[in-house]
């Protein structure tokens, strides 16, 4: 029964995002946040390796070929910088998909926080003094998220803005 170590802290300390556009409550040390959609986002092209994916990609700007814009996330009640800290102001969330669809969602506390686990970068192993002995795969908990933005309603049509 092989065992894999699961480090409870990331190998490299988080570099806090310079700016996090989300409300204060949703901030995590790494800047990661959770968004849940009842349904899926159908991408115009499936994520493909850059070599053969590039021709089909919809983007005009070649430098942007590694991501596809979906739309916008809007906190309608949040108008000023101070609102970002006020929990009552970001209960409601809109997710605009493209120009004509809008999903209404809410910020919800997770019943049990979720740890985000990823494979530890093997090149960082030397720096990790107490556990140099492991010679296999290592996992780490990158961050713990306690809130999620949940979109459980079906999209509604909106006119383009």
């Amino acid at each position: 029964m092989p065992s894999i170590p699961l480090h409870t802290t990331p190998a490299t300390p988080h570099q806090a995002p310079v700016q996090n556009p989300l409300p204060q409550l949703l901030h995590t040390p790494s800047g990661l946040a959770l968004l849940e959609i009842q349904g899926t986002i159908n991408m115009p092209t499936p994520p493909a390796p850059p070599e053969d994916g590039e021709e089909d990609a919809m983007e005009i700007d070649p430098s942007a070929s590694h991501e596809t814009p979906i739309g916008r996330i809007v906190f309608p009640d949040m108008q000023t910088e101070d609102d970002r800290k006020d929990p009552t102001k970001f209960k409601r969330v809109y997710l605009y998909v493209g120009k004509h669809q809008r999903l209404t969602g809410e910020v919800k506390k997770l019943l049990k926080p979720l740890g985000i686990i990823r494979r530890r970068d093997p090149s960082l192993k030397e720096n990790d003094t107490p556990n140099g002995a492991w010679d296999g795969e290592e996992l780490e908990i990158v961050d713990i998220v306690r809130w999620k933005i949940l979109f459980s309603a079906r999209p509604e049509p909106v006119s383009s803005t």
């Binding site: 029964m1 092989p2 065992s3 894999i4 170590p5 699961l6 480090h7 409870t8 802290t9 570099q15 806090a16 995002p17 310079v18 700016q19 556009p21 989300l22 800047g31 990661l32 946040a33 959770l34 968004l35 849940e36 959609i37 009842q38 349904g39 986002i41 994520p47 493909a48 850059p50 994916g53 700007d61 430098s63 942007a64 070929s65 590694h66 991501e67 596809t68 814009p69 979906i70 739309g71 916008r72 996330i73 809007v74 906190f75 108008q79 000023t80 609102d83 049990k112 926080p113 979720l114 740890g115 985000i116 686990i117 990823r118 494979r119 996992l139 908990i141 990158v142 713990i144 459980s152």
Partner: protein, 371 residues
């Protein structure tokens, strides 16, 4: 794309999604992770194809904290779970680095940050407190040591080091250690793990008590005695072939630490009487001799304990560990609380019956085969 700073966040989808897993953290684990500055490293143990046939119960992964074990269960969700990370919106030259978007010096110049989906998941892992019974697993996986005190040590068929057993079992180190001690397990001088049979323990105890009496070595000094001192007087006796590990385990069975964590022991009369009584009954049962005559049990019991314990050899102290099939006989029942005398609280006793039932079947089966 957006000009409003606070309310409208550009949202894009990365094509290079990072593989991640989500793990639901139960309160106890969350506390462990957030309480201390340097939380302990957890272990995920997964059975590989090669070993899964050996242990039928553990064909899935477990997560071990130092003292607890959780089963990992994959929970699928019909919802898409998307992991967002602040990133520079698309209109600007995006950085190629997926991990640390914001080291990009250009980020400072951006009027607004966007969000990028960097990972998706359709499932998360749920942690279910363990279903494995450390006691039972150890019973199964640590080879029995019968001992032989006429000079030659009976060599067990399997030789496995302790660490190998620990790593092979889906239980945490803390649970392993507790069960290890409860079963008097020990490592021989070659480093292999053994679980002594009751008769081996009894023989070792007999040696200890005899030697102590012969050398007038007191087993209950005020500040306790060291096992090394005991072993050294036993070494004088040339017939002795008791591994030191077994002496350690036997001493731990009948003694209490004089001062906690010092390794100095002091005879606990009640514990000793109870321990020896149970071992005698269990030994008798394991040899499949049928039920023991009550009178002969009491006389054996009294002759197996040091003098100062004789008065304590009453059935009260092995309550729950025996039945009287007939008024004149006594039979071993492995139903009592595993740790004698002290933990007779119902909460500690609760998990025991499960093991018992299984053990009994196991033993019955074994007996049937031998006949």
């Amino acid at each position: 794309m957006s000009t409003q700073f606070t309310t409208s966040i550009p949202f894009s989808f990365s094509h290079n999604l990072a593989p991640i897993r989500l793990l639901e953290l139960p309160p106890a684990l969350l506390e462990l992770l957030s309480a201390s500055e340097s939380p302990p490293i957890l272990k995920i143990k997964a059975s590989s194809g090669a070993t899964s046939s050996v242990h039928s119960t553990d064909n899935h992964a477990v997560l071990c904290t130092p003292t607890q074990t959780y089963s990992l269960r994959q929970v699928y969700s019909s919802n898409s779970i998307i992991l967002l990370q602040p990133s520079v919106p698309l209109i600007s030259p995006p950085s190629d680095d997926n991990e640390d978007e914001d080291t990009d010096p250009l980020a400072f110049l951006q009027p607004s940050m966007g969000l990028k989906a960097v990972s998706t998941a359709v499932s998360y892992m749920e942690l279910v407190p363990t279903i494995h019974d450390a006691h039972e697993l150890l019973l199964k996986h640590i080879p029995l040591y019968h001992g032989s005190f006429d000079g030659a040590m009976e060599s067990p068929t399997e030789k496995v080091p302790k660490v190998a057993i620990l790593s092979a079992l889906p239980i945490s180190e803390g649970e392993f250690e507790t069960a290890w001690k409860k079963l008097n397990c020990f490592c021989c001088s070659a480093g292999y793990a053994h679980r002594p049979s009751s008769s081996a323990v009894l023989a070792a105890l007999g040696e200890i008590f005899t030697c102590a009496a012969a050398e007038s070595f007191t087993l209950s000094p005020k500040d306790g005695f060291a096992v090394e001192a005991l072993v050294s007087i036993m070494d004088d006796d040339e017939e002795v072939a008791i591994p030191q590990g077994l002496v350690d385990a036997a001493v731990a069975g009948v003694c209490e630490e004089a001062v906690a964590e010092t390794g100095r022991w002091k005879l606990d009369k009640a514990k000793c009487a109870s321990y020896v009584g149970r071992a005698l009954l269990e030994d008798w049962q394991s040899k499949a001799k049928g039920d023991m005559l009550y009178v002969s049990f009491i006389s054996r019991w009294k002759s197996s304990v040091p003098e100062e314990c004789v008065a304590l050899c009453k059935l009260d102290c092995i309550k729950g560990w025996y039945t009287h099939p007939t008024p004149s006989t006594i039979r071993f029942v492995s139903g009592g609380t595993p740790i004698p005398a002290k933990s007779s609280s119902p909460s500690a006793a609760a998990p025991a019956p499960v093991v018992t039932a299984k053990n009994k079947w196991h033993e019955k089966f074994g007996k049937g085969k031998r006949r």
